[in-house]
Symmetry: C2
Subunit: 412 residues, 2 copies
């Protein structure tokens, strides 16, 4: 009665990420015949054929020769052609701009990162980003890869459809249209998404959460941001804002958070909590003496330096990291109870201290979640690490292609 295919201007934009994802996952885990593909997707052979036809036509999927110790007629085996094209992923963040060039197999072929500052004026940052993108494009062209599109991840409220950044609090940017100018400038399809959502997309398509029915991506950095994906679709929240999971209150008597409340999760258990605790205890326990691995002056202590000190064996830092891990694990347990996902993927700065955080985080989460919620759930680290957002941005492009293959001449 009421159908879901709509024109671009229609309101409903229910996307079949699941089918696209399934297609991608199946093709990735080995060559399949059209018939095998159809069986996996629950579609007819005719439909499966028509879906891959476009991908084959675009050179993104190739047929290899038969190799069939089976019964019937040998089929043509299909597999992804990584050389079929490349997608550019842009992670335009507060402190840096990172650009990757990924092939159609989602392998990062090239990456580059420029430091940045929220104090720099917007045009400067944009110009710097454009230069990085151009270099990525040159790299792709040098490899002879067709440009499939450009994806951009931004730390703020994004209008996905229009490709506009509505508001980025940490950058203090407002109403910035990226899609139109950049699509024109680089002559490629352009996709814009919130950073956490983009990273989640990357983990879903090509990372730790590959094919998960429902999962939560947590970006544990200065803040704790989250993105929720259910049945292959991003649950964006009413205003499209990424889940501000970090401001879940975990202790009514906790520390004061930047948001003005007390005991927010990101203040109690994030990297900033680690920094605060280390500084306080250095003062208190060692009278300001700085252990190996940490910067000379206490003001310069940041999370990476704590991670280094822990790696070098500092007991205080390891202790603090364990506390942080436990706090994060408790929060993840709540998330398991609330969302009941298949998987929780942890990304962000916290992974720099992965060995001292993740084991305890995982065990705490599993032990403290309800049995039904924990059963079958997996808590794990991001596969893309610091590249998560950029790779995810590139994944936006590939997702689009799996959903509706864009043939060269039909690109608009």
């Amino acid at each position: 009665m009421i159908n879901a295919n709509k024109k671009a201007d229609g309101k409903a934009d229910v996307r079949m990420h699941n089918t696209a994802m399934a297609l991608r996952a199946i093709l990735e885990r080995g060559p399949y015949s059209r018939a095998g593909l159809a069986k996996e997707l629950g579609l007819t052979r005719a439909t499966a054929s028509s879906i891959v036809a476009d991908l084959i036509g675009a050179g993104l999927v190739v047929e290899s020769e038969l190799e069939a110790p089976k019964k019937g007629r040998p089929g043509m085996l299909l597999k992804i052609n990584p050389e079929g094209g490349c997608a550019i992923g842009v992670d335009l963040n507060v402190n840096y701009v990172r650009v990757v060039c990924a092939d159609f197999g989602a392998r990062v072929l090239w990456e580059s990162k420029d430091p940045s500052s929220p104090l720099d004026p917007q045009p400067i940052i944009l110009e710097r980003t454009e230069r990085l993108i151009s270099r990525a494009l040159e790299f792709g062209a040098g490899r002879g890869l067709r440009l499939l599109g450009i994806g951009v991840g931004l730390p703020g409220l994004v209008n996905r459809k229009l490709g506009v950044l509505d508001f980025a609090p940490n950058l203090k940017w407002r109403d910035l249209d990226l899609k139109n100018p950049w699509a024109k400038k680089f002559k490629a399809p352009l996709f814009v998404e919130n950073e956490a959502n983009a990273a989640a997309m990357g983990e879903y398509y090509f990372g730790a959460a590959k094919g998960a029915a429902g999962f939560v991506y947590l970006s544990v950095g200065v803040g704790i941001g989250g993105a929720v994906m259910m049945d292959g679709a991003l649950c964006g929240g009413a205003s499209g804002y990424a889940g501000e999971i970090g401001h879940m209150r975990v202790d009514p008597n906790g520390e004061l958070c930047g948001c003005g409340r007390r005991g927010c999760w990101e203040t109690e258990a994030g990297p900033s909590a680690a920094v605060r605790k280390v500084k306080a205890r250095l003062e208190e326990e060692r009278g300001g003496e700085v252990p190996a691995g940490l910067p000379g002056s206490p003001e310069d202590i940041d999370f990476p330096s704590i991670a280094r000190a822990a790696a070098e064996g500092d007991a205080l830092c390891r202790e603090v990291l364990a506390e942080v891990a436990a706090g994060l694990g408790q929060g993840v347990a709540s998330i398991l109870n609330i969302f009941n996902p298949d998987m929780v993927v942890i990304g962000g700065e916290i992974l720099e201290a992965g060995p001292y955080v993740m084991p305890l985080l995982k065990s705490t989460a599993m032990e403290n979640a309800l049995a039904q919620a924990a059963r079958g759930a997996v808590v794990t680290e991001s596969l893309h690490g610091p590249n998560a957002c950029a790779v995810g941005a590139a994944a936006l492009v590939l997702d689009e292609i799996y959903n509706r293959p864009i043939l060269p001449e039909k690109m608009e």
Copy 2:
């Protein structure tokens, strides 16, 4: 490329609740012409006509005479015909079974509730429920209303597609097929859903959350259960379990919860917290003397009695309810931050003390959520109160009809 309309056996079942909901909301808020409807829905007049054609054919929408101080040709005005049929909603819960008969305008025409006990054997409870359903059917038939279907809300893990209750921890039931036997017995389409999800559906279609893009329904009773709806679709969670939001940890040093952890939200701030606190303070402050409105013996104190005592002016009960309200508000603030919904709807036992809980709950939630998350969000009480689940179950039927009108002869 990849389409969302699937046959019943297909895996993807993306439903256009939004369009169905829009249709219902538009028709409800006044008579519309086909053209006006089309404009509201963003469809062509032809498409809108074809959608309502089936509803008109089934007698669920009627045309009224023109009344047009407009410009062009006067149109036939369409409106919902409440008399077009009835849906039966069943709330099969732990302590009671409630059945309602709602007309196509979602008005509850008849309701009945039988007390029940989880100790009763399953066949007894089912037989009791069937008797209630039969009475509801008789009522509907007596009113001359065509039976559109039966919806059932259950407190547990439900397989929506098969209409099977997989597991209900509080009832200790497992693998109960309700759809097939009841659909056959009552000769009507049957829909089964988790209780919180059903209630959310009811609020979305016919209650406080009418047409909200994203909202969270909280059932605050013995436990705190939740259901999340985004873009008109229920976010079921990986295993379809309703969000166990009640086990979000809000205080690491809190009370021991039934789940074995400390400081779960439902233990810190739910009705059970109110009961515990009142009992403790009666002991401590008044030496066991029981104030007006409360049962004679402290063991018999339950949440409704506290609500009554508060209504009669008891200061202790009011104080405890205020504390509970603040705790609930804090949790709702977290929910606003996490999900960024348009709306949070509170239902369940807690509403019996509504006047002493809701104002403080609302203000606490709004003040403690992030500004971006709180802006535009509304926290409000369920419109259906104790009927929420049963009305929601009936809404399942109406939802199905709005999505794909079932013509009498095509019922299967």
